[in-house]
């Protein structure tokens, strides 16, 4: 398992041998990388429950060599990484056909360094290696995001991404600094043993939330996400959204449940609030997007919000002494991480295939692709239904588990928290329902209806490797949806490591009943069996008893013969109800045509209020300070001499 990250690095370096050769990277290196990823996933899964193993490498700082550690938590996330990255790499092998601005060999290097960086983040067992891997991950993904750096918007997206990633990293570094307690000890083992006073552990937790939140797109440090994801090539967006965001979840889990001593209940409450606010925020913004990848990016904000909300619940329960409930919430959260890795990667890859086939990212110029690209369309449908949280796919399982955790709220010591938690459940179901809205918009506008541009008639389906990659991820969505019990049983090792208690046995394998069957249960195989039987039976009966005759005719045009593709709902149109209902959330600019305009045009831009409220003032403050500091250097030598003189006098006075 440990050989995989170096192998990835070697594969990447091999790409540099012949940087311009597409054959080398597409036919050999990417598939090889995918194979390594699958090996990683399989090995991690097989050993998930094994006890922790540590390793010290003779690298790093003299007093702080690289410490590695494989424990169930790390193995779970390595499994997630391997499983998602395997599919994405296979797709990427077929996808990077033309090279995306960067030479294919270089792209291969950056891609595999990115993978290795993520793996090392998960393996790291000391602060230094963690930070190194963390930033390598950020840096390599930055270069991948800016592959097409000739476009100014992509450059600024990349800058914003790296800046926020760096600020996040600074926050994480500070967090480790607090965690070390008093001694200069930066191995995670030492941090576990450092007995931190409560105020300091709260500070560390806050810094960790800020730092990891910046990577995970937690509101309000989410602004980079909708910019960077669309800018990146689609396999990279898939990896970033599907896997990289999870490393932030991993980090927060590691810090809050492993490194920090006993959590405080209000941490959980704060994280719950932040996460669920982010979930609602993300999904509302996703509903009004007109760029397919931006839409998915906002949907990632939503999903990560849900995950963080779940973590909040875990902390709340763990701090209030309800380990079983905490275990349920943690299982749900981890399961959602895994689910999101699969379906979001799948959807991002699908947008990539669409992008390659049509050259369009704007939803306003797509449509009807199910006819031209059946493979992509049907596989994407699975992802769409999964992310919309529909049974019997995987998105529903984690949603179900999380809602159970919300509903079985035991008596918490703080009465008002007891009131707030069900409100959290309300926010969660609202965002889940809105997600369905968003995904219908996403799928319907891209794949259904009439093509909105004539050029779409030339769109082609994706290649063989790409199909395999997509199919793998779709199969993952189905398998995780149908067989939650075996997966949860595996997860139990992770839960037990972090909380000390697990969910226990969940037999039988076909029915999920985390507490008691008579209180709540869900059996996806049975569900699918009955639902499928009824559906197929109905179809069989109808055809059997009556007939299966079909005639084709033009769609009904209301007697108005000039119907064309532009009369369908646009993406803006589909988002309009949401825009109206949640108007105060947006900073909206709308241009409506005058009634007598011969060439009417409609334009609406929807912006995030956080820009105006947080980021622009911060930038302005920095600029103002810079102007002030700039006054020091005002050109006159006499003044410079005066500085020297005054400094000298002041110090002399100080010393005397």
């Amino acid at each position: 398992m440990l050989a995989v990250p170096p192998l990835w690095l070697a594969i990447g370096a091999a790409g540099l041998l012949r940087p311009r050769s597409l054959r080398l990277s597409a036919l050999w290196l990417f598939p090889l990388g995918a194979a390594a990823a699958f090996v990683l996933a399989a090995a991690s899964l097989a050993e998930l429950a094994e006890p922790a193993q540590s390793l010290v490498l003779p690298l790093g700082l003299p007093d702080l060599p690289f410490h590695l550690r494989l424990d169930p938590l790390a193995r779970f996330f390595l499994f997630l990484l391997g499983a998602a990255a395997g599919g994405v790499s296979l797709f990427a092998a077929g996808y990077f056909r033309k090279g995306e601005g960067t030479a294919p060999g270089l792209l291969c290097l950056q891609y595999h360094v990115f993978l290795a960086g993520m793996a090392m983040v998960l393996l790291a067992d000391d602060a230094y290696l963690f930070m190194v891997a963390w930033e390598v991950m950020a840096l390599s993904s930055f270069f991948l995001v800016t592959t097409q750096h000739r476009i100014a918007a992509i450059r600024s997206a990349g800058f914003l991404y790296l800046l926020l990633a760096h600020l996040g990293a600074i926050s994480i570094l500070l967090c480790f600094g607090v965690l070390q307690g008093g001694g200069w000890q930066f191995t995670f083992d030492a941090m576990r043993q450092a007995h931190l006073a409560t105020p300091w552990s709260s500070v560390a937790f806050g810094l960790a939330v800020l730092g990891f939140g910046a990577k995970a797109g937690l509101v309000p440090v989410h602004v980079w996400l909708p910019e960077a994801h669309p800018a990146a090539p689609s396999p990279v967006s898939a990896l970033m959204s599907g896997v990289m965001l999870k490393t932030a979840v991993y980090g927060l889990l590691r810090v809050s449940l492993d490194l920090l001593p006993q959590p405080q209940w209000w941490w959980g409450l704060a994280l719950l609030g932040l996460g669920l606010f982010g979930a609602l925020f993300g999904v509302i913004f996703a509903a009004v997007q007109t760029d397919m990848k931006r839409l998915l990016a906002y949907s990632s904000i939503e999903n990560l919000g849900i995950i963080f909300g779940g973590l909040g619940l875990v902390l709340l329960f763990a701090a209030s002494g309800h380990p079983l409930m905490a275990a349920l919430a943690l299982s749900a959260t981890l399961y959602h991480c895994l689910n999101h890795a699969f379906f979001k990667s799948l959807l991002f890859l699908a947008t990539g295939a669409v992008l390659h086939a049509t050259g369009e990212r704007s939803l306003g110029k797509l449509g009807g692709l199910i006819h031209r690209m059946p493979w992509v369309a049907w596989l994407a449908l699975i992802g769409t239904l999964a992310i919309a949280g529909l049974p019997p796919l995987n998105g529903f399982v984690s949603e179900w588990l999380l809602l159970q955790a919300f509903l079985f709220t035991p008596q918490l010591p703080q009465p008002f928290v007891n009131m707030l938690v069900p409100l959290g459940a309300a926010a969660l179901v609202l965002s889940a329902a809105l997600a369905a809205y968003v995904m219908v918009k996403f799928y319907g506008v891209i794949f259904l209806g009439q093509p909105r541009e004539p050029a779409l008639a030339r769109a082609h389906d994706c290649g063989r490797l790409e199909r395999i990659g997509l199919s793998w991820l779709a199969a993952g969505c189905i398998a995780l949806g149908l067989l939650p019990v075996p997966m949860l049983a595996l997860l139990d090792a992770v839960v037990r490591q972090l909380l000390g208690t697990g969910l226990g046995t969940l037999a039988p394998w076909w029915r999920l009943a985390p507490v008691a069957v008579e209180r709540a249960s869900y059996s996806p195989p049975l569900f699918l069996l009955v639902g499928g039987a009824v559906t197929l039976g109905a179809a069989w009966l109808v055809h059997r008893l009556y007939h299966g005759r079909v005639r084709r005719a033009a769609a009904w045009d209301c007697g108005f013969p000039l119907q064309n593709a532009r009369m369908q709902d646009t993406a803006e149109g589909f988002g309009q109800p949401i825009r109206q209902i949640f108007e105060p959330y947006f900073r909206m600019q709308r241009e409506l045509p005058a009634p007598d305009d011969p060439r009417p045009a409609y334009r609406v831009t929807v912006e995030d209020r956080f820009w105006g409220a947080l980021y622009l003032p911060a930038a302005a403050a920095a600029q103002a300070t810079a102007r002030l500091v700039g006054k020091l250097q005002q050109g006159r030598i006499a003044v410079y001499l005066l500085y020297s003189f005054v400094t000298l006098l002041a110090l002399l006075v100080f010393v005397l």
């Binding site: 003779p58 690298l59 790093g60 700082l61 003299p62 007093d63 602060a127 230094y128 930070m131 190194v132 891997a133 963390w134 930033e135 390598v136 840096l139 800016t146 750096h149 000739r150 100014a152 450059r155 990349g158 800058f159 790296l162 800046l163 760096h166 600020l167 600074i170 570094l173 500070l174 480790f176 600094g177 607090v178 070390q180 008093g182 001694g183 200069w184 930066f186 920095a622 600029q623 300070t625 810079a626 102007r627 002030l628 500091v629 700039g630 020091l632 250097q633 030598i637 410079y640 001499l641 500085y643 020297s644 400094t647 000298l648 110090l651 002399l652 010393v655 005397l656």
Partner: protein, 483 residues
């Protein structure tokens, strides 16, 4: 025997180039002499590693792990800079910015500068140290004004006057030190300025006088090290001189000035028995970091930009020395090393970029990655390295400095970290604009020398991931010498 050779070589080179400096092959001579110097420094280093510190030539010279590491670094960077300057100056000559006479001056002064640096590092005599520091100013001041443009003259003038005044203050500090030393070591003794002797009796030195002396030394040498608020000469001189000079000013001169401060700090701390000197150094460091970081925000000139970054990093190193203790000293030494390697490689890349664009204005440079990918990557990776991005070595040293600061003076870390964040935003935005995007830049008449850039960056990368045990041991020894 290595030591005299080490010192004589650049002096000899300076004389040689004063005669042949305008020759067609002068660049190669410069490289050869620098290489020989580097070899000598390597031999010297080996000797120190093998047999420990020693004094030479009637105790006038003293080599211990602390300065020998700087000697090796200085010789190495001056060698790679000579490599870089060969094609660079040739292109400059082709562009008509320098003529034969100035080229001769350039080469001769380059070697003289290296001589003064090595002298300042190796000497045991604090007076000679002062003389060498002043000599370094004199050697480079005419190089700053090499192009004879109004801006370069102005920069050189400010450099000369401000550093002259600064160094005069350091002289007063040295006099005070001498005064205190005479009391301990006997009047009129030649040993009274020898660091090795002073170090032995440092606890008997009069504290008040030493405190005052340290103020003078700190402000004086601090001016040369570019510590705010006495840094004002630095951006001008770096921006207006030829790029190889910017590289050695940033990569070597600042280090040596800091070295002088640290040597004095050791004595003063020994005498004062409190952490006044450390606190003063930390204060200067902190102010420099903040001033440097914020000044970056308004830069339009690529070399000025990185000059401010040097102020910031010198501030960081000074802060670390101020913190004191084995880890912080180790980190500061590491930081000096990686900073001078990285910064000089950045200046190499930036210099070629500016040559391509025919301008140092940042908005005139764009799309380096398209037109000359190696140059673009050099600048990009160098900038990321200097911004403290892992896995480059600057991160390693910053990590050590920051974590030690968290332990010893937690109040300072948020300031440092936010300044680092500010610097990141400012520099990266500009570098990205230069490296990425479309390009209409012309080709250069000679292939740029990018080997030094990547050699430096490779070393910095290595130091970020793996510090070889001998090197670590060496740093540790040096850190212990500083105390």
């Amino acid at each position: 025997m290595e030591l005299p050779i080490l010192l004589v070589l650049p002096l000899f080179g300076a004389l040689l180039l004063a005669v042949f400096g305008a020759w067609r092959r002068a660049g190669e001579i410069n490289v050869a002499v620098s290489l020989a110097t580097f070899v000598a420094s390597a031999l010297l280093t080996l000797r120190v590693i093998r047999s420990g510190p020693f004094t030479a030539l009637g105790e006038q010279f003293f080599v211990d792990p602390f300065n020998v590491f700087l000697v090796a670094l200085t010789a190495f960077v001056s060698f790679t800079t000579a490599l870089f300057s060969r094609p660079y100056m040739r292109i400059e000559a082709e562009h008509g910015r320098v003529n034969a006479r100035r080229l001769r001056l350039y080469h001769a002064m380059y070697q003289s500068f290296v001589f003064t640096m090595l002298l300042a590092l190796c000497t045991n005599n604090l007076g000679i140290l002062w003389v060498a520091m002043e000599g370094a100013t004199l050697a480079t001041v005419l190089l700053v004004s090499l192009y004879r443009t109004p801006a370069s003259l102005e920069a050189a003038w400010k450099y000369f006057i401000l550093c002259g005044v600064g160094i005069a203050q350091a002289l007063f500090g040295t006099i005070l030190l001498y005064l205190a030393a005479e009391k301990a070591l006997g009047a009129g003794g030649v040993q009274a300025l020898l660091w090795t002797h002073l170090d032995q009796v440092k606890s008997q030195l009069e504290p008040t006088v030493l405190g005052l002396a340290f103020v003078f030394l700190l402000v004086g040498y601090g001016t040369k090290a570019g510590l705010a608020p006495v840094h004002n000469w630095l951006p001008d001189a770096h921006a207006e001189g030829p790029t190889p000079i910017s590289a050695v000013l940033s990569g070597l001169l600042l280090n040596v000035a800091l070295y002088a401060i640290v040597r004095s700090k050791v004595l003063v701390e020994g005498a004062l028995h409190n952490s006044l000197a450390g606190h003063l150094l930390m204060g200067f460091g902190l102010v420099s970091v903040v001033v440097g970081a914020f000044s970056l925000w308004r830069q339009k000139d690529i070399k000025r930009l990185f000059a401010y970054s040097s102020i910031e990093h010198m501030g960081l190193a000074a802060f670390a020395f101020g913190l004191g203790g084995p880890v912080a000293n180790f980190a500061a030494l590491l930081h000096m090393t990686v900073h001078s390697l990285t910064k000089s490689s950045i200046f190499f890349a930036a210099g070629h970029a500016a040559q391509k664009a025919g301008s140092q204005w940042i908005d005139q440079i764009s799309g380096l990655l398209l037109r000359s990918p190696r140059l673009g990557w050099g600048l990009m990776l160098g900038s990321l390295a200097i911004l403290g991005m892992p896995p480059f070595g600057v991160f390693a040293s910053e990590f050590l400095i920051l974590t030690t600061a968290m332990k010893q003076s937690p109040w300072a870390t948020p300031i440092l970290l936010s300044a680092l964040g500010m610097a990141f935003a400012a520099i990266f935005l500009r570098v990205q604009g230069m490296v990425f995007g479309d390009s209409r830049l012309p080709r250069l008449p000679h292939p740029p020398a990018l080997l030094p850039v990547f050699v430096h960056l490779a070393l910095v990368l290595l130091l970020g991931l793996y510090i070889p045990p001998p090197l670590a041991e060496w740093y540790r020894l040096a850190a212990r010498f500083i105390g």
